[in-house]
């Protein structure tokens, strides 16, 4: 008995991977379905969110001020009317003002003050290894901070300091490179764990082979289709 849900899931997964072999109608179906479903889903969640956060407080008579926020929310949509699109700047200004203020007030302690005091480490620690590490940390923090200064005079010494800073940052990007491989391979493993799972394995082989054949003979199929429907360009 064919499990239609697994069949559809395997089909769309392989449609995306068909992009690796050849750009084809399979890929375009997958891409457009993804965009359509994503926006359809977001709409429902947005409506649900508006009801929970704005409509219910008003309908239960809790707080009539919320009507103001709904009006501001609707003002966003004036951006689609050319003549009045400037009105949408008011609600955008509210969002940007809150967002900037909320991030700014705590970023000072979280990303500046606390990071400075965390770098107060002794250069004569208990073990030789720790002392070496602490010296490296202090030098590397100071040089990578100094690397991003642009108005000082371009002297020999400042050039040397900036080079150390740039090399530190390169080692930092190496670590990011290492862990980015982790994220990308994780997503790949997640997909193939599903494709090789007992339920999906047979669909993988059947749909996979059919799709490979269709892609291999893509050019021939297109000539065939071209003959019949000149307007439909696949």
């Amino acid at each position: 008995m064919i499990d239609f849900s697994i069949l559809v899931a395997v089909f769309f997964t392989l449609c995306v991977y068909s992009f690796l072999y050849k750009e084809s109608p399979f890929w375009r179906i997958a891409e457009q379905t993804f965009i359509g479903l994503a926006l359809g889903y977001t709409t429902i969640l947005a409506i649900k969110n508006i009801i929970d956060v704005a409509w219910i407080p008003i309908s239960t008579g809790k707080n009539y001020w919320f009507i103001g926020s709904i009006i501001l929310g609707l003002m966003l949509y004036t951006r689609f009317i050319r003549k009045y699109s400037w009105i949408s700047r008011w609600p955008m200004a509210v969002l940007i003002g809150i967002g900037t203020g909320v991030a700014m007030r705590t970023v000072i302690e979280a990303q500046i003050v606390r990071q400075i005091s965390a770098t107060f480490i002794s250069l004569m620690a208990d073990t030789a290894q720790k002392t070496f590490n602490n010296i490296c940390i202090v030098i590397m923090v100071v040089t990578s901070l100094f690397y991003f200064t642009f108005t000082g005079a371009p002297g020999k010494v400042s050039g040397k300091i900036r080079t150390i800073g740039r090399y530190t940052l390169m080692l930092t990007f190496g670590a990011t490179f290492g862990y980015t491989v982790l994220t990308r391979m994780t997503l790949l493993i997640g997909r193939f764990t599903f494709l090789w799972s007992l339920g999906a394995r047979y669909y993988l082989l059947v749909i996979g082979i059919i799709m490979l054949l269709a892609l291999a003979l893509k050019e021939k199929i297109e000539k065939l289709v071209q003959g019949k429907h000149s307007s439909l360009s696949f």
């Binding site: 891409e31 705590t106 003050v113 005091s117 770098t119 980015t180």
Partner: protein, 257 residues
């Protein structure tokens, strides 16, 4: 009156606000801080020079959504494009531009046309060399990959807010032997750009190059102010380290007030 435990943040906020306000005011009155000649600009000159020398095209892509947090990176991309367009107008290099979003097309077209008019070679300006593919990520990336394979450029420059698509066309640029320069503030994409290009502008260095070229008083003023703030932070760290090494945790307690 003030909430305890937040005094040090408030002191930093007030101090840095005054520094930023003062430096921007001075720079708007004409006394802007001097940004040093950045190695990035030399790298861009070298890459444009290579395209002129080999008589092959130069592909320039600019990325970043205009109406959100990515806007500053897109603007820097436009500023550097203006600089490059002036150079290609002078040297007659075939400049191809691949804008990331449809909203970039009018802006990019104006920049290049004005640059060619300013250099007096308006006849060399060809609007069809501005090739737009799609707003969606992978369709844009495959479009740029196709352009690189088709045009076989000598040089490739990509400035802006890049995401996963960066690696796709960077690899193609390396395979086809283009000498390339990359610039972004998205730290998660910098490893690829460093590994595939001859020079990388990352984070503030990209904004500094933009300010150096645009001479916009507010951007140059902001960079001057942030430099002073960095010198303050560096001296605080060095002072703190010395005090802690001598066993005086005075600065620690001061900063955690």
């Amino acid at each position: 009156m003030l909430i305890a435990g937040r005094y040090s943040s408030l002191v930093f906020l007030l101090a840095f606000s005054i520094i930023t306000f003062y430096i921007i005011q001075r720079s708007r009155r004409g006394k802007a801080p001097q940004i040093r000649k950045l190695p990035a600009i030399d790298a861009i000159d070298e890459v444009v020079g290579r395209a002129a020398e080999m008589g092959r095209p130069l592909i320039y892509t600019v990325g970043g959504v205009l109406d959100n947090v990515e806007a500053p990176q897109a603007i820097t991309g436009f500023t550097i494009l203006d600089y490059v367009a002036h150079k290609t107008a002078k040297t007659g290099v075939d400049l191809i531009i691949c804008p990331r979003f449809a909203t970039h097309i009018p802006i990019v077209t104006d920049i290049v046309r004005e640059a060619y008019r300013a250099e007096g070679t308006l006849d060399l300006f060809k609007p069809e060399r501005i090739q737009y593919y799609s707003d969606t990520q992978f369709a844009f990336a495959t479009g740029v990959m196709g352009a690189i394979a088709r045009e076989r450029p000598a040089s490739f420059i990509m400035i802006g807010a890049w995401w996963a698509e960066a690696l796709m066309f960077l690899e193609t640029a390396v395979i086809y032997g283009a000498m390339s320069i990359g610039g972004t503030a998205n730290t998660h994409q910098i490893p690829w750009i460093v590994l595939c290009t001859s020079y990388t502008l990352f984070g503030e260095e990209m904004f500094a190059a933009g300010a150096y070229l645009s001479k916009d008083p507010i951007s140059v003023g902001t960079i001057g102010a942030t430099d002073i703030e960095r010198y303050i932070i560096i001296s605080l760290i060095l002072l703190g380290v010395i005090l802690v090494t001598m066993g005086i945790p005075f600065l620690n307690r001061l900063l955690s007030m």
